[in-house]
Symmetry: C2
Subunit: 332 residues, 2 copies
């Protein structure tokens, strides 16, 4: 009986039409890697690849491309660098799924992004702040010339005025980039913000550029905001297995696949992996914790929450709330 | 800068108008008590009372009224019974906040609900399934005659056909009950279901009866669904401190107070208590776990999830998913 009821109260067919063309990008290893400095075993990365491939996921963002020397190899694992050698060990060459690597501004040079036909990577996604858009476009143009599909993530949009958002969208609209994600870096947005911003992104970027979302879960809104974005008609959505990601984490892939209810996707290979991620969560402690809820609400970088969580004496949040409140008073 | 942006993209003034009259009911001790058999220390219940009173919360649901003998006093704590003696030890007599006690059908007799003016309890809330509505109305009428404000929670609405919902709403509309909550017992609903059902409840119950929501968090939708309900114009919402509640838990009170952004409420006394609830969560393990996500998605009682969580060998979810899938196949 259960599920009948859900179907019978679905408000309109539009949602289903739009949902049909949604693509899913999993960024468990890339964004989840921020929790453990990308120190995943090769076995887990390989198992994740196989599960995502079997589940019908469209893109796997497997890590970052980074210049050697920017991070110590003693400290961070291979997925902060994504060398072709490391990639070859974990992914199949005859795969359906596209592989993505993220690039940070200032941590990679164009010379290090060679021709796509020599790489296991299909997609270059550049993450930047709005004020770094020149450098981002330079890198994206180069990647496109090398034959990659290109994505751009402009971070921390929740700290910008609407006019500042318009400005970077106008430039992206004529940039030749293939895909742009609305990024809620701080987990500050509620669904009504997401609807407003997704509409803005779609209006400004026009028909030729796909629009997606990359949302954080500080206020338990990552999945709900993803649903709001899907209702508004986005083309792709980001998610991670068991919500693994910096601070409070991301939209859980398994919840998203349940919701999409699309035979193109199969949640079962993901579910079979979740015990392994759940035991990592016990020690790495992403998910709902008050310090992250507060940085989300106050619309600031999660670093003060991460510091608080790393102290063994629990949250001690009273002073953190007071400090964040004072900080806002000063700004205004 | 941060918060300006949120305000500037608020879609309409309507939401604010509606939000002004929202009342908040905290059910941490009542619903959270399902996690620990109501074995809270008196000190914690008293601290919770004081924090809720200082925060401006409108109702505190402090436990259940239950006939002696229904549960063993050896096993369950005092808030499964809510005797006047126990109440007097933890709440102030000159308080602003109203105190509520829940009654289950078949676990309390009318004779045990005496005059309101002799009790610390202000509100009797009866929880029932749709097929128990006769007994529920009998109890509610008695409570009203005794001078209590009355609430009715019809549980597991997600398992009913829309026509069955209409039927019980038509009866509640002429019952004299003061408040009715839409209850998502299984955490099965997405925001579009909540919007549909809240509209239905408001339409059927008319002007005289207040409509609220009591939502579970199996699919990380409790807070998002609360926001959807507030947008639709509900009169009251349920929440619990740090989301404490059966299985995946409830809408976290602290997130709700951040969102409401109403000077009538002050989140700080709640935040100061959260360390104590967070350390309980480490052992009681409410919150986001895959077994609860699956019972929510499959729209069934969380008991199979709770059983799974109580086994020490982590989730082992593959067979649980298969069993839940087969169960649905049989029903249809």
């Amino acid at each position: 009986m259960g599920l009948d009821y859900r179907v019978s109260c679905c408000p309109d067919g539009l949602v289903t039409d739009r949902r049909r063309r949604i693509k899913v990008l999993d960024c468990t290893i890339r964004d989840g890697g921020i929790c453990n400095d990308w120190n995943f075993s090769n076995d887990l990365v390989q198992s994740t690849f196989k599960a995502l491939e079997a589940s019908g996921i469209d893109y796997m963002e497997i890590g970052y491309k980074t210049s050697e020397g920017i991070f110590s190899r003693e400290k961070v694992g291979p997925w902060r660098f994504c060398t072709e050698d490391d990639l070859r060990h974990v992914v199949d060459s005859n795969r359906r799924m596209k592989l993505s690597a993220m690039c940070d501004i200032g941590r990679i040079t164009k010379a290090e992004i060679g021709p796509a036909h020599n790489s296991a990577i299909d997609v270059i996604r550049v993450a930047c702040y709005a004020h770094q858009l020149d450098e981002a476009l330079d890198l994206l143009n180069h990647a496109k010339d090398q034959g990659y599909e290109t994505f751009c993530n402009v971070m921390a949009v929740s700290t910008l005025q609407p006019r500042q958002v318009d400005d970077f969208l106008e430039r992206l609209a004529v940039s030749g980039v293939d895909n742009v994600a609305l990024v809620d870096s701080f987990g500050a947005l509620y669904p009504f913000h997401v609807r407003y911003l997704v509409r803005k992104y779609m209006n400004y970027l026009g028909e030729g550029i796909k629009v997606g979302v990359h949302l954080h879960n500080n206020q338990q809104q990552a999945f709900a905001n993803t649903i709001a974005a899907i209702d508004e008609g986005v083309d792709f959505v980001d998610a991670t297995i068991h919500g693994m990601g910096r601070g409070a984490g991301n939209c859980p892939l398994e919840l998203l696949l349940f919701y999409l209810d699309n035979p193109r996707y199969n949640a079962e290979p993901i579910l079979a992996l979740i015990d392994r991620f759940a035991s990592m969560r016990d020690s790495l402690r992403w998910g709902y914790h008050l310090p992250y809820a507060m940085t989300g609400f106050f619309n600031v970088h999660p670093r003060s929450g991460i510091e608080r969580m790393s102290q063994e004496d629990r949250y001690k949040v009273d002073d953190m709330y007071a400090k964040l409140s004072r900080r806002l008073d000063k700004e205004q």
